[in-house]
Symmetry: C2
Subunit: 145 residues, 2 copies
């Protein structure tokens, strides 16, 4: 793709749900967003998408593992690929309930396809089933006058 | 930097507050995290850091511009540079109150240093004064045995 002006104005093009999930599945990490003591909180984490759900790993020693997932709280999950120089790229946001995967065989199957980046006890598997999927792409505004 | 194994385990090194803010100021965009109807929400947005505060632009037609900032809500703001291949990088999260800049001279001064990426009415200027600053860097775990 070539654009005459890398810093020209952009507009947001809404992404179809299927394309948004495909983009999210194609990147290795995102950011989980939750509420902690009524305050907004966010943590970057690596993920895989399995059967249309976002799968992440956690540790019982973290807020995510000890409070958010056991409470089956609603979370948002965001991933993007944005180029700050070209001002192009995409962002996808899903909203859904975060649940601990408690069935041992299922948890083992998911652990096998998702290695945590961070060393240590990350035995918990958390699955987020998308309920709302939104995504946009930054595209040049008014390419023709 | 060279590492023998690009997919080796990592550990999190906590960043000093000053270094965290410097990293945040060095990138052009991040993600604002807020609560909407008691649910977690997140929006990517471009920013500048002025006098230690994060400055973004918004439009009265958005949730951010019409509800979050006028209510002086507590928000989180996250920026990162993470390399999914090398599994290295950093993430910075600040928490603070989002406020509309209402003083016309001040708003004009800030608009002059922050061009919105997205075309359209983005007349509002929102300032987030950091109250809590946390940051981490992903570093190789146990470089020596």
């Amino acid at each position: 793709m070539m654009y005459q002006n890398g810093t020209g104005a952009r507009r947001l093009r809404e992404l179809p749900e299927k394309e948004a999930l495909r983009l999210l599945a194609g990147v290795p990490f995102g950011r989980i967003v939750f509420t902690r003591h009524a305050l907004p909180a966010i943590r970057p984490v690596n993920h895989v998408v399995v059967d249309g759900a976002i799968v992440i790993r956690s540790s019982p020693g973290t807020i995510l593992g000890s409070h958010v997932a056991p409470a089956e709280a609603v979370v948002a999950y965001e991933a993007d690929e944005l180029d700050g120089h070209e001002r192009l790229g995409w962002s996808v946001i899903i909203t859904g309930v975060a649940r601990l995967v408690t069935e041992p065989g299922e948890a083992a199957r998911l652990r096998a396809v998702l290695t945590p980046w961070v060393a240590g006890e990350m035995e918990q598997v958390i699955r987020i089933q998308p309920e709302i999927v939104t995504g946009f792409e930054l595209v040049p505004a008014a390419v023709t006058a």
